[in-house]
């Protein structure tokens, strides 16, 4: 008989301080460009909007890819 789980667990991977700092800067960076994209849209500045949304998308996807790569690597090491 299996015991029913009553807790959820968040696992925070141990990283060096500079890795946390880089993730924090990445977060600020994408928030900044998201804000610029929205603002440029409101200002009806199509070119500024296109550039800002492109920087946002590339930075966001880049961050997600790096995170995925790190997660997969650590899972491989565990297994």
């Amino acid at each position: 008989m299996t015991e029913k789980k009553i807790h959820s667990t968040f696992k925070i991977r141990k990283r060096p301080w500079y890795a946390w700092l880089l993730w924090f800067l990445w977060l600020l960076w994408i928030i900044f460009w998201a804000e610029v994209s929205i603002g440029s849209w409101k200002e009806t500045e199509p070119r500024a909007f296109t550039i800002a949304i492109a920087i946002f998308a590339v930075s966001f996807l880049g961050g997600v890819l790096i995170w995925l790569k790190g997660t997969l690597k650590s899972r491989k090491l565990k297994s």
Binding site: L28, F32, E35, V36, I38, G39, S40, K42, E43, T44, E45, P46, R47, A48, I51
Partner: protein, 446 residues
């Protein structure tokens, strides 16, 4: 925490930590935001950065300005030809149904002038004497007795209420007032009330204060320059200025004091606005404000109401203009200066000599107004300081430019790369969901 505060304490902090050391010794930073004060990154100065040659600078004859003497400067025959061409072009553009030059665009431009046309030098809404307001004497009470600081607060609140974007106060430098206008001498005399007769207009000696006000122009219009839509934007600025000075002058009279309202007449609004700390002089030889760039019209009121005065400001604009030159490059008439530094060398009689500036070839500018058939505001539209401020990046750029002007070249290149200052389509203007008067009244208010 609002966006401004976030920026101030967050992103701006790092930039300013580096730039703080560049603060000129004579400048004192405005430490806190006061109601209607400038943004925190604007410094106040004891005197304007631009030098005045006291031996040369004097009162200017209004007739010498480009509107008063265009035929003399440009040539009678050339001017006639210009007007003929302008009429032909107007008809051609109408036939072609060219956006920005259709009948509805022209009608909007002309209609936008309607309130402005109600006043002139000591006439109509710009009368130097009261229109109808009751004076304290008529009410059987004393005139306003507040301190100069309290009076300045009242004036700034009332000015904002009547439509001013920013208000500044200076001790009146009489050299900014024209010596004559419309064939009448303008003189200062020891009289109780201002008056005008067949020969002269008399300003009382006691009017030692000048209130400078800026009026925000609708940026969506100006960005369509040069079309009738952008012309409508300028005209709207003038009409709102007319309403503003008429209301504010009557308010001052209601407090029991003298008020002489003026828009472009009577003297240099730019010079008074510089003294009153509304902005700095840019390459266009016009005022650039830290909040709105060149997207403002100016007006002024002379008064004897004792007021606390403001000081000239510095936000690194002159250093920015030295590098930027976007207005001069974009000007289709080539009337703006490409010189690196502002100097004392005037372009012609239309410029008032004796002060440092980037002087413009005004007849070339006015000729292009006629040639385009609808005026021109391209220099205002392309200025990197003309922004709607809907994103924090503009505040970041302004703040950093103010403290680190050597980055002006980079910011100018980025401004162009991001597509700012490109002409907007005039036919799209009619589809916009515009705010009242076409202006965002929350802009620059913190």
């Amino acid at each position: 925490m609002d966006r401004r505060e976030f920026f101030k304490f967050g992103l701006g902090g790092a930039a300013l930590a580096a730039g703080g050391s560049l603060t000129p010794a004579e400048a004192s930073s405005s430490q806190k935001r006061v109601p209607q004060g400038h943004p925190w990154w604007v410094k106040t100065l004891e005197k304007s950065k631009l030098a005045i040659d006291n031996a040369v600078y004097s009162r200017y004859k209004s007739q010498n300005n480009v509107f008063g003497s265009f035929a003399r400067y440009y040539g009678q025959e050339k001017m006639k030809e210009l007007y003929r061409n302008s009429q032909e072009k107007t008809a051609k553009y109408y036939q072609e149904k060219r956006p920005g030059y259709k009948l509805e665009d022209r009608a909007l431009a002309d209609a936008s002038w309607v309130i402005s046309r109600l006043g002139g030098l000591n006439r109509g809404t710009r009368s130097w004497n009261r229109k109808f307001i009751r004076t304290p004497e008529e009410r059987g009470i004393d005139k306003y007795q507040g301190t100069p600081e309290a009076a300045a607060r009242l004036i700034k609140a009332a000015a904002r209420y009547f439509g001013a974007a920013t208000t500044g106060i200076a001790i009146l430098d009489r050299r900014h007032i024209c010596s004559e206008e419309r064939d009448k001498k303008i003189v200062f005399e020891n009289v109780h009330e201002p008056y005008g007769d067949e020969e002269k207009l008399v300003i009382p000696d006691k009017c030692t204060y000048a209130i400078a006000v800026s009026i925000l122009m609708p940026i969506d219009n100006i960005q369509c320059s040069p079309t009738a839509i952008s012309s409508a934007g300028s005209a709207m600025g003038y009409s709102r200025a007319e309403f503003l000075v008429a209301g504010l002058a009557e308010f001052i009279r209601g407090l029991g004091y003298t008020a002489i309202p003026s828009v472009n007449d009577l003297g240099s609004s730019v010079a008074i606005a510089l003294d009153a700390g509304l902005g700095e002089l840019g390459r266009t030889n016009r005022l650039i404000s830290p909040e709105y760039g060149p997207m403002v019209r100016l007006a002024k009121i002379l008064t004897d109401l004792p007021l606390a005065t403001d000081r000239p400001i510095d936000f690194g604009l002159q250093e920015f203009c030295q590098t930027c030159k976007r207005c001069a490059e974009a000007c289709p008439s080539g009337c703006l200066s490409f010189k690196d530094e502002p100097d004392f060398e005037v372009c012609g009689e239309w410029n008032n000599p004796g002060h440092q500036a980037w002087f413009e070839n005004a007849p070339k500018c006015l000729a292009y107004w006629r040639e385009s058939t609808s005026g021109c505001s391209i220099c205002i539209a392309v200025c990197p300081w003309s922004k709607k401020d809907k994103t924090m990046i503009h505040q970041l750029v302004k703040t950093t430019s103010a403290r680190m002007p050597f980055l002006a070249g980079f910011f100018t290149a980025m401004d162009e790369a991001f597509g700012y200052g490109r002409q907007k389509r005039a036919d799209q203007w009619w589809k916009l969901n515009l705010p009242e008067y076409g202006i965002d009244t929350t802009q620059g208010k913190g």
